[in-house]
């Protein structure tokens, strides 16, 4: 044979996994949640998911262009941010505000720190935190699911003109003939009226919530798919859910009238989506074995504390953001013992 022309360094074999494949699978896993959301809320939810995702892609592409980097749309990470962000917004959220959320998620949450893998915080949550501060009314305006006309047209707020405040939709909700609708999430009703919702409603999505946070069972199934394909670390959601259950159970046992059941804490609000799809973001979670468990537990503890004692009704977002900030520290103090290190058998 002729002279060899390739001269690489070992190893010469590879597992075949790659970043776009991981990211793509996360997007696939979120598709059932998106479809369920559209089925629940109709055209408005579809438009919101689409607009937020496109805004994220646009922000990423503009950033590539400005920084002179290669096109990074193909790594699919911006799609994840977009879809995930849309799923955390109320279905009636005005599209232009959704676009602002998408742009700020990528620019403030990701590009600012150097792009893929460099971001200390989950970009989707940065986007949500931005619009929560910017548009407090719109982000806490809820609409009933399964309204009969949901595929006939948009919710009036959806098509609010850019830089305008959304119209009041109390009248529109009345027209939908959904008398039981109260306009508050179960967590808010618990906090301000001390009314607890049934677990069955949470599992099947019969609650007032953000676009993608309604059906706990669907989120669980999609998350399990990723866990089995090893695209997410199962320890994180298990630690989050376990710590929430444990603390909520302790409080519930002490004061059953004051504090809701552990299953209510587990299934309400954004906890399931947060535990399975946001806390597990690879770039912003720890990598050391003990650090991973502590990180999950920290999210659980903070979530319960914010919900019980904070001014907000929901605490998952800030719990994850704070834990994101703590992730490097958790890693630093929990470096695993190496083979042959101190304390081993020899």
């Amino acid at each position: 044979m002729s002279q060899p022309i390739e001269l690489r360094a070992a190893p010469y074999q590879h597992s075949g996994s790659d970043v776009p494949a991981i990211m793509r699978n996360v997007v696939y896993a979120m598709l059932p949640i998106c479809i369920f959301s559209v089925w629940q809320y109709g055209l408005s939810a579809a438009a919101l998911i689409l607009v937020v995702t496109l805004a994220c892609l646009l922000a990423e592409r503009i950033n590539n262009y400005v920084s002179g980097a290669a096109n990074t749309l193909s790594d699919w990470s911006a799609v994840i941010t977009g879809v995930l962000l849309a799923l955390t917004l109320p279905p009636s959220f005005p599209l232009w505000m959704g676009a602002v959320a998408g742009l700020s998620a990528i620019w403030l949450g990701k590009s600012l720190f150097g792009g893929l893998g460099q971001n200390p915080f989950n970009p989707a949550l940065i986007g949500r935190a931005f619009v929560q501060a910017a548009f407090p009314t719109a982000i806490s305006t809820w609409v009933p699911a399964f309204s009969p006309n949901r595929f006939a047209g948009f919710i009036p707020t959806t098509l609010t003109a850019p830089f305008m405040s959304p119209p009041d939709i109390a009248h529109w909700i009345k027209l939908q003939g959904m008398d039981a609708f109260t306009g508050a999430t179960p967590l808010a009703r618990w906090k301000f009226e001390n009314v607890s919702a049934s677990s069955m409603d949470f599992l099947t999505g019969q609650v007032t919530a953000s676009a993608g946070e309604t059906s706990a069972i669907l989120i669980l199934l999609c998350g399990l798919y990723l866990a089995f394909r090893k695209f997410l670390d199962w320890r994180i959601p298990v630690a989050v859910m376990g710590s929430v259950m444990l603390i909520a159970w302790a409080f519930h046992l002490a004061q059953p009238a004051r504090y809701p059941s552990p299953s209510f804490m587990l299934l309400s609000g954004g906890l399931m989506l947060g535990a399975w799809f946001m806390a597990t973001d690879m770039a912003t979670s720890p990598i050391t074995p003990r650090g991973i468990w502590l990180y999950g537990a920290l999210i659980g503890i903070l979530t319960v504390m914010i919900r019980y004692f904070g001014g907000l009704t929901e605490g998952v977002m800030y719990a994850i953001l704070i834990a994101n900030a703590a992730a490097p520290l958790l890693d630093q103090f929990n470096q695993p013992r190496i083979l042959g290190g101190k304390g081993g058998k020899s």
């Binding site: 060899p4 390739e6 190893p11 190496i338």
Partner: protein
Amino acid sequence: MSLTFFGEGGRGKGDAHPAPMARPSLPGRLLPFSLLSSLFSRKATFEHGIHPAYHKETGSLPIQRFPFAPKLFVPLSQHIGKPAVSIVRVGQEVFRGEVIATANGMFSLPIHAPATGIVEAISLIPSDTGAMETAITIRVYEADGQEIRVRNPQPLDGLTGIELALVMQQIGVAGKGGAVFPTHAKLIPPNGCVIDTLIVNGAECEPFLTCDHRIMVERAQHIMTGIDYARRVCGAPRAIIGVEDNKPDAVAALIAALPSDGTVTVKVVKTKYPQGAAETLTHALLGREVPIGKRSSSIGVVMNNVMTMAYVGKLLPLGEGMTERVVTVAGPAVERPGNYIVPLGTPLRFLLDHVGAHGSEVILGGPMMGAAISSLDIPITKGVCGVLAFGKKETASQRIYPCIHCGECIKACPKKLNPTQMGLLSAKREYDLMADKFFLDECFECGCCSYVCPSHIPLVQQFRVAKSFLKDRKKAA
């Protein structure tokens, strides 16, 4: 520091047979009533590691003899330690088996003529390290039968360990696993160390390589003889042969050849890379860990490769020098892969032409820890366990993405290091921090981290650069 750490273990562990991998372990198949008990007994292994595609097709092919090349290029340094000293001159006739270069001190090995012929030159030739090295070129007599012409048998009974080691030095055997440590020197226990176990490494966990597998199947008796001599040198009261469970025929052959006194045992370990590395196999078989910065001998263990033992067992009683070795020639670009007895000094060009190779990259050793070479004039030496040829498809480059902190490398690292953090640090050239805080020196370069990285970051490659940098700086200081 730690060449012995991955000495016999690191590089050349290969094994055979993709098919038997899926089947239950050997005891489970041979003895149905033991199935239940095997469910409860955990097969020995180490934590972490990877399961690469094994490509062990050549494991079912018997070893074949390879023809002699018209010219053999015999480097004076085929082992770790001082190079041998040439005692021949150009134009001199040499006989196969004759010593043509003598050992330079204790930590060195003699070189024997791999063929009968005429010394044509003593000159510089390319080597696998990239540097040129001195080699004796022998023009092989075409008409000669090429039987071993020179032997130097010596009485072996009643010798002390050290005396036996000195006789062993004369046959010129170095570790066949890849680190090519002079075997006699490796077996002598350092001062103050008591060796309680000789581990014989038959794991052969590197993909493609099956030469150890074939040696275990075909030369189990030689291995037992070699173990006997090795134990006399190192003083180990027992020996354990560790074999991965994808080689049931090797296990059966070894068990059939075991001495009756029970001091040598065969232990089946899980098929997992890098099972055959010194640290991981020791941990799997004995549950012991080599402390940071120490050698295996500090925990009473000395490890040798099965092929090393087979050659010691074959050559030492005959007083015959090392003139050839079994090499796996494989890879997608090889038409007739197999295990061949190749005369030392055979140039790769001759070897690869004979097996019908047509690739664009040639690797010495296994695909996980081997090294690509830049010239086909490099000869087969004592430490070459495999020659692999890859084509365009295998060598296509991959886009490198930023680290996404997925942590897969942490789950793969058999030393439980933190390759993620070290990779980020090496990108910033923080080599000192890598060594001080993240145990860079403990990395034995198995390549698991690079193998699993979804971003295709060349992690172990960067660690090698970092180590070289620190080593060079230390040398300069």
